[in-house]
């Protein structure tokens, strides 16, 4: 799995170094079906790709609406990769795994 990952992320991102911690933030609005799907997909992808070195923070804008402006959130659900920099944003319910990997720089953009 790791080897595979190394091969795939060649020249893109090193995931397997100890210091690399991925900080991911998922913005949702309540317990909507899209939000639930997105969270489920995110967890699955992270566990497959990130070797346990990640944190996922789910922000419900219905509870904390003021947080939406900080990350320029418009669409929901939005996944923001805070670390490693640069910040990336992925919108949608993350059901297209390949696009998610591209968005997270885990796959080179075709």
């Amino acid at each position: 799995m790791t080897g595979n990952s190394e091969l795939k992320t060649k020249g893109v991102n090193q995931v397997d170094t100890e210091s690399d911690l991925w900080v991911l933030r998922l913005y949702v609005a309540g317990q909507s079906p899209k939000a639930m799907t997105a969270l489920k997909n995110l967890k699955m992808i992270c566990e497959e790709q990130l070797n346990g070195k990640f944190t996922i923070e789910v922000i419900d804008l219905l509870i904390n609406p003021q947080l939406g402006a900080d990350d320029q959130i418009l669409a929901l659900p939005t996944l923001v990769r805070k670390l490693p920099v640069p910040v990336r944003k992925i919108i949608g319910d993350l059901s297209n795994t390949e696009r998610v990997l591209v968005g997270l720089d885990l796959l080179p953009y075709k």
Binding site: K34, Q72, L74, R88, I91, G92, D93, V100
Partner: protein
């Protein structure tokens, strides 16, 4: 909601100068309005001013959601228009949210909606209790988000949501090729659509505003010129003026006593429109300056628009005929507003005039001269503009004096911009060329509501100002200048001759009377002589008769008494 249609549509005053008048009360309350137009036409400013005026004049907080400019940029941009946006943000009267969307940062991975935008907007509205919302320019989303289907569906939902929130919203949109907005936003916002236009015509630009539609209410449908300057937006509701001005019977002197005399001895009516037209160098400006000076001396305020001379040049020139405008200017009774007619478009001039008049509050406005506007073939537009100015000034009871240059070739009565029908008092100055001299003549072509003089006066510029003299009008035509003087001398000589002739005739008569009188005396004497001679003759004859009778009686006595009867009969027969 349905009841709203039965009642009058509630409106929300914008506070934008003039806009509330053409919309008869502002934007539809609790509904979104689309403001569209090309780049640089003032959409953002319209939105900002709507919010700022909302806070400062109507105590309605507002949210500005910018999709293009950042908060800092906006604050700086509108500071030049006199709006302290930062202060209002600090006071929690205005919430400013910059929505930034970068296509390259975004990866689309499935189903999504724009709930995030709704939540941010909702949060901003709730945090300050906003009644007004501006979304500027929401179409930027189309370049940021790839999925147009979702976007369109969400926009539709957004406008519905705004209505439900009950906020009065302005959505700005960039003009498209054939459509009002590039992305067809007018489909979604259908209550009120306002179109802003920034047109360049013959190198001069004019901003215009038009209400494309306004559901459920009447509104002005024209294109209204508007102005963006240091005090923000101002729309000119000019054509909303009618012909129902208040009319004053007050008369104000023209500053030239002889001219007043031609106008029933009282001068112009207050609030009337005076046109002084004439050929080049005939003294139009001098008449205007006299009027200004007289008004200022009465303590009235005069606004002087000069379109040809700079104020300093005008002051110098008028000093040469003894009018000191500079002192009046220093006393702030007289204000010059000098611009070239070509400096901006007609509507802009109109707008500038409105603003200047509203700011200075003059009693008298002078436009010197107006025909420079009619350089191009825009005569109709020029006329419309002046009609608007005249209406505006009349409505404010301001007396206006226009000067107009007429060309030598054209019919004199035809002023350059075909204004005559708008004018109450038309004073015509004309050159009279005679015997190698160019003199000036002046007459009152018309003056509504007064018995004006029909006489031509010779118009003379002296070191003490304008003087009017009566011109010679006779069989030889109108004579002025030295010809008039010569003619007057001739007439004087004639008069003298006539007087002498009369004298001579009188003497003749006297002489004749004397002759006849002597003749009468002679005849009397002759008659007297004849009379006394005749009387003598009569006495001699009577004596003879008496003697004859005496002789007969004595003869009878001497014959006898018998023949007495016969004698008597004979005497009777003789008698």
């Amino acid at each position: 909601m349905d009841n709203d249609f039965i009642k009058a549509l509630p409106k929300s005053l914008t506070g934008i100068d003039g806009f509330d008048e053409i919309t008869l009360g502002g934007l539809p309350k609790g509904r979104p309005t689309l403001v569209c137009g090309a780049a640089g036409c003032g959409k953002t400013l319209f939105g900002i001013e709507f919010l700022v005026r909302g806070v400062t004049q109507f105590d309605e907080p507002g949210v500005f959601m910018s999709f293009e400019e950042t908060k800092e940029e906006l604050v700086t941009n509108v500071a030049s228009l006199g709006f302290d946006l930062q202060d209002l943000i600090d006071k929690k009267k205005i919430a400013l949210d910059h929505v930034h969307i970068e296509r390259s940062e975004i990866e689309e991975t499935g189903e999504y909606d724009l709930e995030g935008l709704f939540i941010r907007l909702g949060y901003a509205i709730d945090s300050i209790g906003a009644k007004r919302v501006v979304l500027d320019t929401i179409e930027s989303l189309f370049s940021g988000l790839p999925n147009q289907l979702i976007l369109r569906a969400e926009l539709r939902r957004l406008f519905r949501w705004l209505k439900n929130k009950g906020v009065t919203a302005i959505i700005t949109g960039e003009r498209g090729d054939d459509t009002l907005t590039r992305q067809g936003l007018e489909e979604y916002v259908s209550d009120c659509v306002i179109f802003l236009d920034h047109r360049v015509n013959e190198q001069t630009s004019t901003r215009r505003l038009r209400i494309v539609k306004y559901r459920g209410t009447v509104h002005g449908t024209n294109e209204y010129p508007f102005l963006i300057d240091e005090s923000g937006f101002s729309v000119l509701p000019v054509t909303s003026l009618g012909l129902n001005h208040i009319v004053s019977n007050e008369r104000i002197p023209s500053g030239i006593p002889a001219l007043d005399k031609m106008l029933e001895g009282k001068g112009y009516y207050r609030g009337s429109t005076v046109l002084v037209s004439g050929t080049a160098g005939v003294g139009k400006t001098s008449i205007a300056a006299h009027f200004a000076e007289a008004a200022c001396k009465r303590g009235e305020r005069v606004l002087y628009f000069c379109f040809e001379e700079s104020p300093n040049q005008l002051i110098r020139n008028m000093l040469s005929i003894g009018i000191d405008l500079e002192t009046l200017q220093q006393k702030n009774l007289l204000k010059f507003q000098a611009t070239r007619p070509t400096f901006y478009g007609l509507e802009m001039h109109l707008a500038v005039t409105h603003k200047a008049v509203k700011a200075f509050k003059p009693d008298i406005v002078i436009f010197d001269p107006i025909n420079t506007f009619a350089i191009s073939d825009k005569e109709m537009e020029v006329k419309t503009m002046f009609m608007r100015i005249v209406d505006f000034l009349k409505a404010n009871q301001i007396t206006a004096l226009f000067t107009s240059l007429t060309s030598n070739k054209s019919i004199l009565e035809n002023s350059a911009v075909g204004l005559s029908s708008l004018i109450d008092t038309h004073i015509l100055l004309r050159d009279i060329e005679l015997n190698g001299e160019l003199n000036r003549g002046m007459y009152v072509l018309k003056s509504r509501g007064m018995a004006n003089s029909n006489q031509i006066r010779e118009f003379i510029l002296t070191g003490e100002g304008v003087e009017l003299r009566e011109v010679y009008i006779g069989a030889k035509g109108v004579l002025t200048g030295s010809a008039r003087i010569a003619q007057e001398a001739n007439e004087n000589a004639d008069l003298l001759n006539h007087e002498k002739e009369i004298e001579r005739k009188k003497r003749e008569l006297d002489r004749k009377r004397k002759i006849i009188e002597t003749q009468i005396a002679a005849l009397h004497a002759e008659f007297g002589a004849e009379e006394s001679e005749a009387i003598l003759m009569i006495e001699i004859e009577q004596d003879k008769l008496r003697r004859l009778k005496q002789d007969k009686i004595e003869m009878a006595k001497s014959r006898n008494v018998i023949t007495d009867n016969r004698t008597v009969n004979n005497r009777r027969g003789i008698l």
